[in-house]
Amino acid sequence: MSLKKSTVRRFLASGAALALAVSGVIVSATAPANAAPTTGGTLYYFTHQEQFDHVDPQRVYVGRDIAFFNSYLYRNLVMYKPVTGPAGSSLVGDLATNTGVPSNKAKTWKFTLRPGVTWEDGSAITCADVKYGISRTFAQDVITDGPTYAITMLDIPAGKYKGPYSKEGQDLYDKAVTCSKDNRTVTFNLSRSVADFNYAMTYPAFSPVKATKDTGDKYDLRPFASGPYKLDTYNINDEMHLVRNPNWKKASDPNRNPYPDDIRVRFGVAEDLRDSIFTDDSIKNAVNLDGLKPVANKAFFANPANADRRLNVYDPYVRYGAMNVSAGKMDCLEVRQAVFFAINTQALIDLSGGREFYGDPGDNPVKPVLGLDYAPTTGNIHDPAWKITGNPDKAKELLATAKTKCPTTYDKATNPAKGITYDLSNTATNQKASVLIKDALTLAGINVKFNFIPSGQYYSTIGDTTKQSDISAAGWGADWANASTVIPELFTKEGGANYTQNWNDPAYAAFKAKSDKALAETDRKKQAAMWKELSQYVMDQYWIIRPIFSKGQFVWNSGVGGVGYWEPQGNFLFTAIYVK
């Protein structure tokens, strides 16, 4: 998913479902206290946001919200093991008895429901409920914003099924998803082999919905619960109140631990007030759903007294500059390289909190936390000529080559009357970053202008091929522990977040063929080798520059226990949190 900073709400956190397969993700954190968890009390969450982007399971695509609702409100067929550390990246059965049974070269997947799983009204959760819930994703005119893996993976011709409201193409869906006679086993027939299909099942988009309780768009305000809590009230701009679901049974859900009696999420809290609640530890049983503002964050982490109520971790995202390599834009490799070598990366990192809080220079579109699919690339930041503070002399050398090899692009980059245009979302930090970028590029003789786009419409603007400029700041996180949710998404024409417009690049055809081959590969090790090769390809082409492996900080107050980081979800391990 693409990057969502605080002002770009839509995409950022949706990268949450990242299976972090390696250890050492936590940069600095305290181990949860060994005290036994206690049951009871009210747990408060505070956020500056006015609401959750979505609550409807088929529409939730923000990592934090996926982790939150998967822990409290609804259940999926499978889930990530609710433990901290690398073990949390493994799958366990949730509503299903196991993590799925593939057959037919992973083109068919079966999941059988546990006995005794129920809705909040005590009625049984059935295969028909699972089938109905997933079908809602196809109603793209009502169920918006959610992940569309069901649409791209199930064996249904594109656009032929319109979802359960219009029922157009229903017969196609009924063939792709079938239920056993006892209504407990669901079978998915896929259009291609998908070895990691069960990872997609961790998304609430694949969770059941009871058809008689479906209210279409309004389901986003009051979903029917299958988890240990149910919605009591949800008032946007005010509060969400979760109370215990009396029909939830631990016997049918060994994974969740509903410790607090009730949970209240307070929305729209002014940032200064929110920060004071946590710096002063004024409301003991409170957890911050956001980060702190930079100054407060730095002070909080500098104070050793706060050591047992904070986490500083590598988040699931890679932030980068996407080169628009279409004709007339950044279609010259040497000019792209020149921009890369000229930029002062250190200054940009320092601007956003330094390496301690913002992140480290990266060498790859795939983050090391993906483990199997990551390997250090060559070139780029490993090039002996690269300097973290910028190397204008190397940039000038590259421009000299470009002058003869691609004079038009060279002229565009260096002519004071022309110049390259850099897309940035219009935030105070980016306004300052633009000055740093301009200073660095000017030293190398590159003329740059900036296109500041309102944050709310940033990704929709750069996603429009007619409106994107020469370079666009962007970010992405894997949906699960497979670069299949990174490389094809970012660098193929069919990808949902390709901001490089690389499909006319001479280097594209070979890349696309390899990407398609990797997607179809069912041997995970062979597939990983292919992703590594493709990552190197991307970096060699400088389709993206300056990747940053970013970090995130989490804080809570002293009356809360059991707080840990759920690596695959990129957020709190909500189900372990209790009130002391």
Binding site: M1, T144, K218, Q457, D464
Partner: protein, 333 residues
């Protein structure tokens, strides 16, 4: 007189219709695409078009506007099958970002904004006018100089500073309102104490800024009026200073202030964005600013704009009518 009022009401309604049309036209020419914004990360052209249809943006701006006008009288239907629902008249449309009929959203936000505006209005009039009169009566003395300092501080301190200061260093520091309860709506008729607890400090924040201006207006108006011939005449007649102030000076000096206060009050009813934001109040200001800056939620933008315009226009109407009662020459004009 009735003819005059009828003419003014018709004129007011025409303005509101025109404003609604202008908002639709502005929205139409702006380079934003709400359909693309709501269709998620895998935004295919067919999905964008489906969303455009869902949002009602797939027809001309004139048709969109006409649907809006018709919806005001007949209500509107949305979606199909089990997802279908109806927004009853007067329907301002449906917010797909908030999942509610806009009329309901307005109904929830208006009491909050009205409480804030009314409380602030009472505070700033009480504080500003009394301080202004006191300063005028003690021109050049300590009270006058102190009021001048208050005016300087009040007018130069923006609400986003004073609000944060009041919130962090008074409300939170002395635990006067728990952050958990901040901004919670309490019905003033069933829970007046809770209502006061929620609104006292936000009202104070707004009132401080306005009171400074009103102190200055009142002081200068009272001083000017005191120098008028009819005051001198009153003194010559032997009336007491208190009677002159109450019956002559204040009545003349406060008339323009009441007019300005009415318009300021009407303006605040459209929403006090900053104060609502600081104190977590879910009022019209926050509803509208989010619709404009974040969601591009046309039905909410139109409704809140019309509402804000209606308050100002109707307050103007009331002032005009009052003037017509006061001054017969206006009726003739």
């Amino acid at each position: 007189m009735l003819k005059y009022i009828g003419r003014r009401v018709a004129y007011t309604l025409a303005i509101l219709v025109l404003i609604s049309l202008v908002v639709y036209l502005i929205f139409d020419v702006l380079p934003m695409d709400p359909a693309r914004l709501t269709c998620g990360k895998t935004c295919r052209p067919d999905v964008v078009e489906a969303n455009r249809h869902r949002l009602g943006l797939d027809v001309s701006v004139w048709q969109q506007w006409w649907r809006f006008i018709v919806g005001l009288f007949k209500g509107r239907d949305y979606a199909e099958g089990v997802a279908a629902f109806h927004c009853p008249a007067p329907s301002f449309g449906y917010s797909f970002n908030r999942h509610e009929c806009v009329s309901k959203l307005i109904g929830q936000a208006f009491p909050v904004t009205f409480s804030l505006a009314l409380g602030a209005f009472v505070m700033w009039l009480a504080l500003g006018v009394s301080l202004g009169v006191w300063a005028a009566r003690n021109k050049g003395k300590f009270v006058d100089r102190a009021s001048t300092t208050f005016v300087l501080v009040g007018t130069s301190l923006p609400t986003f500073i004073s609000g944060i200061l009041i919130l962090l260093f008074i409300v939170v520091k002395f635990n006067l309102v728990s952050p958990i309860d901040l901004g919670k709506w309490h019905n003033p008729f069933t829970d007046p104490f809770g209502w006061i607890k929620t609104f006292f400090f936000p009202c104070l924040t707004l009132a401080l800024a306005y009171a400074a201006s009103y102190t200055r207006f009142t002081r200068s108006n009272v001083i000017e009026t005191t120098a008028e011939d009819f005051i001198r005449t009153a003194k010559a007649k032997g009336l007491s200073a208190r009677t002159i102030m109450r019956k002559h000076t204040l009545r003349a000096a406060l008339a323009p202030i009441v007019t300005i206060a009415g318009l300021d009050f009407a303006g605040l009813l459209g929403g006090a964005i900053i104060t609502e934001g600081i104190f977590n109040l879910p009022g019209l200001g926050r509803l509208s600013i989010r619709a404009v800056l974040q969601d591009y939620d046309l039905p909410v933008i139109v409704a809140t704009t019309l509402l804000a315009a209606a308050f100002v226009v109707f307050m103007n109407l009331i002032v005009d009518i009052l003037y017509a009662f006061i001054d017969p020459r206006v009726r003739v004009a």
